[in-house]
Symmetry: C2
Amino acid sequence: MSEQTRITPRSEGYSRWYLDVIAAARLASYSDVPGCMIIEPNGCALWERVTEVFDARIKATGHRNVKYPALIPLSLLQRETEHVEGFAPELATLTHLGGTKLEDPLVLRPTSETIMYADFAKKVASRSDLPIKINQWCNIWRMERRTLPFLRTFEFYWQEGHTAHATEAEAQQEVLDMLQEYRRFVEGTLAIPCIPGRKPPGERFAGAEDTYSIEAMMQNGKGLQSATSHYLGQKFSRAFGIQYSYGVGQSEFVYQTSWGMSTRIIGAIIMSHSDDKGLVLPPRIAPVQAAILLIIDKKTSVDEQLREGFLDAVRRQLDHVGVTYVLDATDRKLGLKQYDWEKQGIPLRIVVGASEIAHGQVMLIRRDTSAKMTVPLGGLGAAARLSLEEMQSALFTAAQERLRQKSRVCTTLEEIRAAFKEGNFFVHTGWAGSKEDEKGVKEAGDGVTLRCIPLERTPQHVDTCFLTGRPAEHQVILAKAY
Amino acid sequence: MSEQTRITPRSEGYSRWYLDVIAAARLASYSDVPGCMIIEPNGCALWERVTEVFDARIKATGHRNVKYPALIPLSLLQRETEHVEGFAPELATLTHLGGTKLEDPLVLRPTSETIMYADFAKKVASRSDLPIKINQWCNIWRMERRTLPFLRTFEFYWQEGHTAHATEAEAQQEVLDMLQEYRRFVEGTLAIPCIPGRKPPGERFAGAEDTYSIEAMMQNGKGLQSATSHYLGQKFSRAFGIQYSYGVGQSEFVYQTSWGMSTRIIGAIIMSHSDDKGLVLPPRIAPVQAAILLIIDKKTSVDEQLREGFLDAVRRQLDHVGVTYVLDATDRKLGLKQYDWEKQGIPLRIVVGASEIAHGQVMLIRRDTSAKMTVPLGGLGAAARLSLEEMQSALFTAAQERLRQKSRVCTTLEEIRAAFKEGNFFVHTGWAGSKEDEKGVKEAGDGVTLRCIPLERTPQHVDTCFLTGRPAEHQVILAKAY
């Protein structure tokens, strides 16, 4: 094992471990541009899988993809006051172009509401122009003081859905529908349990009436906001003049939504499933599900034709059940091959050596448990498929169990402080819900924030606000978060 | 027909027609950012199809996708002198970030050689680190004085392949291999015949040793450079210090290539196949291949169950042969539906009305010829598949015929001038190949440029240079171009 790819155990330092896993799995590396990472082939393939699977859901739910300019005139961004104020500290502004000073500086998009909605205003006239349901996969820029690959970088990638509707009810439905799409994707494909909830007012998207999110718990008990869905109401449609006419001389501003999931979801995948040996990828999102490790032993040579015929049969078994694979036929030793594919998170390794060929079988090794299984060649397809399904389900169950174990129900500030002194938890408690209370949350512990008001039943109802003792208006989750 | 979607006939003005087709097919529209277009859902779906088909070829030829930062430090860009000089007039530079003046300004990438190769220098040590074969699908920026949707915009999209090799021979092979991949894609999938050739020195990519391109002819006889492949030799590896060691204390700079195809290929699709009724899409690149037009006649009502059963059978027929489709069940009149799907370039229309349902048949209409065909329901799949294949082939044949008809062999400057006075042609002629000769090409006519030195046999060999009368060193093509 070279020094370069040594992975710090989680017990020694979770942040160091996270960076080591990324380096060892060759997902990303540092670039010469401050705060910007290079997404390496393995990381890019993972993001492409996320894109592929979720893009199909976006299209199946009636949205279509578009591309708007990455540069937004500052004057447009300033049209919705709360929006520009929220993003002001994070903007990258282009003041000169081709040596000429710009009268209206251009901003690298931190999000695309403003450029899109200025365009919506031109496209909406009557009710028949509605709904508008579009999505954009793109790069965006937000200046960050401290960067962390995938979680916080100056440039990152995401999808941003934007819709405009004739009625409030339809827009509200869209917000919740897309939140559920995120949840299904994150739980069903990424094997990460998550909690759909509403954000408290202080955590709302700048310019939104309401922000919803799905919150996931990382292995270290910290929270990660994995996707958001915003109800924008008429805030932007009033600012941009997006209205439709109906009846005689009647007109109404449209109701809008926006929703997004970014490359930070790769950070969530890493921190939910990986171990001290490196990356672990849930089979449904793994760009490559199996690595065939051909072990060419110089002592016990195998007839070339026999070997190729055997490998061909292995491939056909996997093709037949739709398992994706790579063949590692390099002359590296078995141990090195094992180590290399293991740290890259490949769900299954299939060992083919002289003895396997002679006996008409292969050895199957699962990434998460390291369990080995000898399988006759003819049963490989079925066994690989079953192993992948079991692994997908085992990863989800383990994450659910962790979420359960690292959740606490607390009623008072003292109990909450004690919990966060012990470690990182999702603390379920009651909250009175005023702006002042939200500021008071920091008293609960260093870095503790109010993550969300869960949409679903909490483990145990808390009747009073943990801060004020007043009747609890909401059940909430407190946690430290990325 | 509303004024908005009226399409200027080509005979009245080719440029106006081009813009009208884009508007009528809703491929792109203007944005509030100077020089930047909005790629609308129809245009985005077309680019996604280009991406999907060509990305599969990129991967099948052993390249992997990456993402490098969009902002490049100016100091990096300046490391290769010819490169920065070539791009200087087109750069968009970020001088301030978060209110602070940058010591090293950041440039919006006009191409990614410099940021990638600074990184290659860190990754290459020994011969086993080679070859590097990567590709990036991304947005890039080049300032343009006059913009034209898809052809010349400030921001546009492309893929850029970048490779590094241990030997010159391997790099040269890569350059030609990728040029052939472009040609196969453009001819086989987009039905656009094109001429692979080498660029004259004055048209080389800034920093390249040699630039190759595929040149296509548009309907108006103008040329469009549809993709380029560059042999960079050791120019960049020397500037960036990308070298590998071998033997004892020996080292060698790597040999490099880069190659790209952009959203301008959509301009090529439009200008190769479309007609006065609007867009025509070759079936193999059309995001939707057929529109099922359901005609609900209020007078002759059809039993709902019967109708749904019939439509379901239509869909199954198309699914079975892998033809993609949309169903237009709006209550618009047949004429309007026809007109709408026609101008969007959908290759096939399938009309289903009361009479069709009663007789167990449908009417099939081909976009390019407007030929109508009555087909029994049970034979729809086969008939649709065959029609699409015939259309794909007919579009290619028509474009080939046009290329043949608008090509001329000329031997003297006078002949060439006469040709360009008559119209736009691809003029095949002889050239002595000096830098001065290249400048002299403008004498051949206003806007005439030296497109390429074709790699393949020209229609007729010309022995002397059209400018100097000296022995011709190369056979070349002159044309007006986009």
